[in-house]
Amino acid sequence: MQPLASPRACFPAAKVLLLFSFITFPAITLAQDPGVIEFPDRSEIDLGAETERALDRSGSAHVETVTPSGVALLDHNGAMQNVTVARLGPDGKIDTLCTSNREEALDFLAGLDRADASVTRSVAPDATVR
């Protein structure tokens, strides 16, 4: 299919490494949990004035004028933009989210909403993996 459009591109190497690790350390029997990353407290994240304005969807920043030809022009004044935020994933890769929603951006930056982040685990050789 499309290796570049898939988050699995790096997995073959990871599989080789993890398999090797089991050969070397057969005592490891538990499934590998995703890494733990410390994210900033949501309430302490300061998006900054520019980003706040970009995420402003109240319409208060808009200024409308009508040209002599009758075309109505609405200046967005930096509002109504889409913002891409990024965070480290448990596998060390960068995960990104584009949003026009301030609350969604803050959740993402605070490491919340991790339900659909990609998850990988390894199978242990004795395979009792609960």
Partner: protein, 474 residues
């Protein structure tokens, strides 16, 4: 931020549309001397360059923006120059998360010559339709990106910095910027709703993007809804869909065929039902699929290797999700025993996390699918004797609902969601999905059809628009 005078003195404009391009997109550098696009310093890590010919951070940034702009310029048709007011500024960044950048249409217009009446257009599209400059010296698109990652400080997203290569080969830990810029420019060109957080349309008129949206549950188009209905609809996944004919027609060119489960017997529960395919990359499943009797996987093994492989060999194992077993393991253990498929029933909606994730050190090639608890119970209550087929649909695609491509409308946020993206369920991933991960896109896939639905004229013989196995800049 720089003063207007400094900005004016430092601003340079570079046309990036190639002679063969139908549109001309200009990157108007809005940074002061010595910073942002004018930064004379080399990247802190030479590997950030990739195949980008630039030597300074400023050159690398400009080359990347120009190349992304050229992708769009090579597809769209406009007699009016599209100006992108672009800059790099320090934005929010912590050791684990941060802002990369933002972009959008600088303005929008209504009463546009050759446009729909009572409809607001992003300014670049409005000018293309009108064949005239409508906003004087103003830019059509604003784009601001964060310069902090290039400090390579561990205090900003791990310190890997941006990858400026014009390919998809970002080293681990570096941020693949090209795809992000290509995506954000797509928003600036018009892939965005101008509905406000309360559902009200900016300027009191529906925008051309929102005119393509329909809520399948209510049966109403966005343009015909009240503000409150529209705000509610923005959270109504999976029923918010794109109605434009070109996207609907083209969806099969970009989306994988959906997976379905056919219950062949017993007749009392027979039928064809959508299921969610697991995420292991090597699953082999076509429209013929696999057909086999169903056995109770929980009773025979659970979340471990089966003790009696013969009971599973050649069959499809049925499991109930208990919240404790990583779902791909079910597929792996079933395949190891010689089984040809696995069904995992759960209380989660189809398409959610019931079969998400991958095993990092083993491959799974048999299909394992997620289904509802009700269907799982129907099968379980008919064992032995149930026979099913797991196969690819020939008419339904992943990321659609009732033949229409789904929009991103998660119910997680009260203040109206970010509907200006395709649903994350679309498979394979599309450029205008909300989560790009760190994967490389050089194609704009279904976005072109969306732009056509909105009224953009496109080149008849543009660059290849389908996903490729190799990253290629047209």
């Amino acid at each position: 931020m720089k003063s207007p005078l400094v900005l004016a003195l430092a601003t340079v404009a570079l046309a990036v549309g190639s002679p063969a391009a139908a549109a001309t997109i200009v990157i108007n550098v809005a940074d002061g001397a010595g910073e942002g696009f004018n930064d004379p310093n080399p990247p802190g890590d030479p590997s950030q360059r990739g195949n980008n010919p630039g030597t300074t951070l400023g050159e690398l940034r400009l080359n990347l923006f120009e190349t992304a702009a050229n992708v769009w310029a090579g597809i769209l048709d406009s007699e009016v120059t599209i100006t992108v007011n672009a800059r790099f500024d320090p934005l929010t960044c912590s050791a684990s998360s941060g802002t990369l950048g933002f972009a959008g249409a600088a303005a929008s217009s209504a009463n546009v010559p050759n446009g729909l009446a009572g409809t607001r257009y992003p300014i670049a599209l409005a000018e293309s339709l009108a064949g005239a400059n409508l906003n004087g010296s103003g830019a059509e698109i604003n784009a601001t990106f964060n310069s902090e990652p290039d400090t390579l400080s561990a205090d900003c997203l791990g310190g890997g910095g941006y990858y400026y290569g014009l390919d998809g080969d970002a080293p681990a830990g570096q941020i693949s910027l090209f795809s992000v810029v290509l995506h954000e420019l797509g928003h600036g060109l018009g892939f965005a709703s101008f509905a406000q957080e309360n559902g009200q349309f900016s300027g009191g008129l529906p925008d051309i993007f929102s005119r393509q949206l329909r809520d399948l549950e209510t049966g109403k188009n966005w343009a015909d809804m009240s503000d409150a209905e529209r705000a509610a609809s923005s959270l109504n996944d999976p029923d918010l869909v794109w109605t434009g004919a070109r996207v609907t027609t083209a969806r099969g060119d970009f989306l994988d065929n959906a997976v379905e489960m056919v219950i062949n017997s017993p007749p009392a529960i027979a039928g064809t039902f959508p299921v969610t395919l697991g995420q292991e990359p090597d699953i082999d499943l076509d429209s013929t699929g696999v057909t086999a009797d169903v056995v109770d996987g929980d009773a025979l093994g659970g979340c471990t290797f089966f003790a009696n492989n013969a009971a599973v060999a050649g069959r499809i194992a049925l499991f109930a999700e208990d919240g404790d077993c990583f779902s791909p393991f079910r597929g792996f253990f079933t395949e190891t025993a010689g089984g040809v498929g696995a069904i995992i029933s759960s209380d989660q909606p189809l398409g959610d996390a019931s079969v998400s994730g991958q095993i990092s050190n083993q491959d799974v090639t048999i299909p394992y699918v997620g289904t509802t608890q009700a269907l799982g119970n129907d099968l379980r209550n008919n064992l032995p004797g149930a026979n099913v087929t797991l196969r690819r649909s020939t008419t339904v695609f992943i990321g659609e609902n009732a033949g229409r491509v789904r929009m991103y409308a998660p119910a997680s946020f009260e203040a109206g969601s970010s509907v200006s993206h395709w649903s994350s369920a679309a498979t394979p991933d599309l450029l205008m999905e909300p989560r790009l991960g760190n994967i490389g896109f050089d194609q704009v896939d279904l976005t072109v059809a969306a732009f056509q639905d909105m009224g953009w004229r496109t080149r008849s013989a543009g660059p290849p628009l389908i996903f490729k196995d190799a990253f290629e800049i047209p």
